[in-house]
């Protein structure tokens, strides 16, 4: 019975996190920072990814990311968006999974590195879609914005995580 409870909790929390990423992702489309770089967004949906990474094994977060990318692409009706978000999210997940084990590194540093690799992944996809390395000129602005939103997400995740682990550990 006990393990069943755990499973249900894990499943429901992953579902909540997925719903969060999708809703925030769609809401962010309305406040895009196009004046800085085309299609640039805050990336607050990644808060759920960071929290999931610190709460569940990496494969759960991988599932979360793939489902998030698929659902958002379907809702936005854009296949190109799928490539961008998958490349960014997977690059970001990879580096965060590696960095999470580094001592002396808190959730803020992990989140900033994740944001930077999210930008790198997306700009690489853009390079192949547009066929020119010139697209890399957008990288400085993306990285500056990514660092800021990475710090914000890190701080938020730091505040939210203890509450979620309490929920996970609580027994009925």
């Amino acid at each position: 019975m006990h393990t069943n409870h755990e499973k249900v909790k894990r499943l429901s929390l992953l579902g909540i996190l997925l719903a969060f990423t999708i809703v925030i992702g769609l809401a962010e489309r309305m406040i895009m920072l196009d004046g800085i770089a085309p299609g640039m967004r805050l990336g607050l949906a990644n808060l759920a990814i960071v929290i999931s990474l610190y709460t569940f094994p990496p494969r759960d977060t991988l599932l979360l990311i793939v489902l998030k990318c698929l659902t958002t692409a379907l809702l936005a009706g854009s296949m190109i968006a799928l490539f961008y978000s998958l490349a960014g999210s997977l690059a970001s997940l990879l580096v965060m999974v590696l960095l999470i084990k580094v001592k002396n590194l808190s959730i803020i540093g992990v989140s900033v590195a994740g944001a930077a690799f999210h930008n790198l992944g997306q700009i690489l996809v853009a390079r192949f879609i547009f066929g020119t390395w010139g697209i890399l000129l957008y990288l400085p602005l993306l990285l500056i914005a990514g660092t800021i939103s990475g710090i914000i997400i890190g701080l938020l995740a730091k505040a939210v995580r203890p509450r979620i682990s309490a929920f996970i550990k609580a027994t009925y």
Partner: protein, 124 residues
């Protein structure tokens, strides 16, 4: 926040700030600026800005179009038949090296030019 966090933040932020300063920090005036228009990664047209105000329509694919306004000191999109309108919202671009892009139509317009003092504003 721990010490290693700061290292990560600096590793990302410093090169980005230097890059941004090189790209946008110059107040130089540019001469002989041109707009290079790429369709799906291939150069399709080069237009000198010196000619002054002009509007051209860039056709991409079967139905896609973007209207590019070319002025003596910069370029911007005035219209596009896509949902996002990101390229129109991006506004006017003045600096060589900057790019206007339209993701759905795979259109990329790059500004090229040299600084008046004879030194390249951007090295790349």
């Amino acid at each position: 926040m721990k010490k290693a966090d700061l290292y990560i933040i600096l590793t990302v932020l410093l090169p980005a700030l230097i890059g941004a300063a090189l790209l946008y920090g110059t107040n130089t005036k540019y001469q002989s600026m041109t707009a290079e228009i790429y369709l799906a990664g291939e150069l399709s047209d080069i237009i000198p800005l010196a000619q002054g105000v002009d509007e051209i329509t860039i056709h991409s694919g079967e139905k896609g179009y973007n209207i590019l306004r070319i002025e003596a000191d910069g370029i911007y999109f005035t219209e596009a038949n896509c949902q996002s309108q990101i390229c129109v919202k991006s506004g006017k671009f003045y600096h060589p090296g900057q790019m206007l892009i339209c993701l759905p139509h795979r259109v990329l317009v790059r500004l090229n030019g040299q600084a008046e003092r004879g030194i390249d504003a951007i090295a790349y």
